[in-house]
Symmetry: C2
C-alpha cells in the first residue's frame, strides 16, 4: 500500500507503463488492487478501466494439487519451457490462508529461482488475508492487469484450501490438476468435486522408480473419469504422466492445453465461458458487498450472533433469521 501511495504518477502514465509490459508498474497496480483502502479501490478501478482494452488475450490456466505434489517445481519447469517458446508467463496464486509474511508457497520465490529472474515471467504471491471471495475478486483483477501487460499465459495456482479450487476454476479457461503417482491412495487428499473440475490431469513425478507407478495411476484415473460427465461436450478430460524434474511430458501437457484452447476458440466457447464467469462474479461480488454493508451497521452486527446461534440450534429457521436481518437492514 505504501508502495502505491509513494508513486502518485498520473493514471494515464501508469496505464501506459503497464501496457508497455513494465513489470514494476504491473506490481504496483496489483498492490493497488489488493488494497482495502477506499481511495486505493477507486484508483484501482480507474486504472483497470484504462488498461481493460489491452486485456483478455491470454490462456488462463488454473493449477492445483495437494502439498508435496511438486507444484512449485512443475511451475518452474513448465514456465521456463513456455518462455523458451516465446511466451510471457504470469503466475498468480489464490490461497486465502496465506499471509504476506509466510505460508503461501509463492511467497517463497526461492522455490522458482530461475523463473522468478526471467524477464518474460511475473510471479505474484496470493493476496494476504481476507475471505476466499475477496481473494478471488482481487485475483480476477490481477489477471486483467497481467494480460494488459502482455502476459499471454496466466497460471493461477491454488494449494487447495476449502473451496479455493472452485474459485480458481471459475476464473480460468482450463483447470489443471497435478496428481501424485499413487492413484487410489487416500493420501491424495483430493477434496470432493475437484477431480471433476479438471479438464487436464497431470500425474507428476513420472521419473525414476515412480515412473511405472505413474503409468498405472494414469490408467486408473482415465478409467475413473469415464464414469464422470465431462464439463463440456467439446472436451474429454485428458490424463498424462509428466515429470517436472526430467521435463518429460511437459510438451505433451502444453499440446493438450493448446488443443483445448483451439477447440473452445473454434466453437466460440472460450468467450462464452469467460462471459458466464464474469456475470456469475458480478452477482457474487454484489452479494458479498451487500452482506459487508449489512455487517458494517453496528445495530445489525450486534444482532447477528444471537440469530446465527438460534438458526444453528434449530430454534429459528434460516429463512426467518434472514428475513429478520434483512428487515433491520432495510429499516422496516
Amino acid at each position: 500500500m505504501n508502495e502505491a501511495a509513494a508513486h502518485p504518477a498520473p493514471l494515464e502514465a501508469r496505464a501506459a507503463a503497464i501496457a508497455a509490459g513494465d513489470r514494476r508498474a504491473l506490481a504496483r497496480a496489483i498492490t493497488l488492487v489488493e488494497s482495502t483502502r477506499p481511495d486505493h479501490r477507486a484508483e484501482a478501478e480507474a486504472l483497470i478501466e484504462r488498461v481493460l482494452p489491452h486485456a483478455g488475450n491470454s490462456i488462463r490456466i488454473g493449477l492445483s494439487g495437494v502439498p508435496g505434489v511438486g507444484k512449485s517445481t512443475f511451475i518452474e519447469a513448465f514456465g521456463l519451457m513456455l518462455i523458451r517458446q516465446g511466451h510471457r508467463v504470469a503466475v498468480l496464486a489464490v490461497d486465502p490462508s496465506s499471509r504476506r509474511t509466510g505460508g503461501s508457497i509463492l511467497g517463497d520465490k526461492t522455490r522458482m529461482t530461475e523463473l522468478a529472474r526471467a524477464e518474460a515471467a511475473f510471479i505474484r504471491p496470493s493476496p494476504s488475508g481476507g475471505t476466499l471471495g475477496g481473494v478471488a475478486r482481487r485475483t480476477r483483477e490481477s489477471i486483467v492487469l497481467c494480460e494488459a501487460a502482455g502476459f499471454d499465459v496466466i497460471l493461477v495456482e491454488t494449494v487447495g484450501v476449502g473451496q479455493s479450487e472452485t474459485a480458481v476454476a471459475d476464473m480460468v479457461d482450463l483447470f489443471c490438476l497435478l496428481l501424485l503417482p499413487s492413484a487410489g491412495d487416500e493420501l491424495q487428499g483430493i477434496k470432493k468435486g475437484i477431480v471433476e473440475l479438471a479438464e487436464l490431469l497431470l500425474v507428476n513425478k513420472a521419473d525414476g522408480e515412480l515412473e511405472a507407478k505413474a503409468r498405472v495411476a494414469v490408467g486408473d484415473y482415465r478409467a475413473a473419469l469415464r464414469l464422470l460427465r465431462p464439463l463440456s461436450p467439446l472436451w474429454q478430460p485428458e490424463v498424462l504422466a509428466v515429470s517436472a524434474v526430467t521435463g518429460q511430458g511437459l510438451d505433451a501437457a502444453w499440446a493438450a492445453i493448446e488443443r483445448h484452447e483451439a477447440a473452445f476458440e473454434a466453437a466460440g466457447e472460450k468467450a462464452r465461458r469467460r462471459a458466464a464467469q464474469a456475470q456469475a462474479a458480478l452477482w457474487a461480488d454484489l452479494g458479498d458487498g451487500m452482506i459487508e454493508a449489512l455487517r458494517r451497521r453496528p445495530a445489525i452486527a450486534g444482532r447477528i450472533p444471537e440469530i446465527e446461534a438460534a438458526v444453528a440450534a434449530g430454534t429459528m429457521t434460516a429463512m426467518a433469521g434472514a428475513r429478520r436481518l434483512l428487515a433491520l437492514f432495510l429499516g422496516e
Copy 2:
C-alpha cells in the same frame, strides 16, 4: 393460496393439528410456506415458530438420479417397506423447472399409487416456479413441517436440473444417488460433482437380464470412489445393487442408511452437519433477499442490463459492476 386463505383457523389450532399428524393441516401449512404473498409469509413464519419444538426428529435423505433410473418406482417400493416397519414417510421434491400443472414427476402421484394412499405417507410435489434458491428455501421449511407432523423419514427427491443436487445435499443428513446398471456409459449423464456428494450409491434395476450388468457396475463405482476423498472421515461411501421391482437390496439400503445415521449420531456429527447447513442457509437466504430488494428498486433494475452486458463483454470488471450497483442501492 386460496386453500390457506379459506381456513383462517387460529394459529394455535393449526399448529396443534400439524403436531397431531393431521395430513390436511400439514398440506395447508406447506401451501402457506410456498406462497409468495407477504401476509402469507408472515403467517407461515408464525406457524413454523410454533411447530419448531416438535421438529428435527427424522432422518433426512436426499435422492437423485437421471430420468429413467426408476426413481418413482424406487420411492414407492422403499417407502412402502419403511411403512411396513412402522415408519412414517414424507416425500418432498426439489425441481425448479417443475410447474404445478405438470412436469414434476411427483406431480403425477399416479406413479406412486399405493404409497400416495398410505396413511403413514405424505407426498408433496416440488414448489412451482421460482429460482432454485427459492425452491430450496421453501423445501427446507416443508421438511420442518413434515417432521413436526411426526414423519420420521423425509425423502427429498430431485431430478437433477442444474445445481439442484447440491441444494438437496445441503438440506439432508445423507445424499443417495440412484444409478443405472451401466457404469461408464456416457448416457448416465451424471453432472459434475454429483457422485462426490453421494454417501450411498444404489445401482437400480438389478433384476432379470440386467442383474449381472448391475453387479459389474457396483464394482466399477466402488473402484472409482476409492479415488475420491469421502465427505466425512466417519463414512466411506457405499455402493449397493437394488431392484425397486423385485425389492431386492432395499433392506440392505435401509441398513446402510441406519449405519450412517448411527455413526453420525454417535459422533455428534448429525447435529453439527445440520447446524452448519442451517447457518449456510441463513447467509444464502440473506444474500438472495438483499439482491431481491435491490432488483425491486426501479431505478436500479433499469441499470442492471447494461452493467451485466458490459461485465459479460469484458469492458467492465465484475467488481466494478458490483460496486456500481451497490453504490446505487446504498444511495452513495
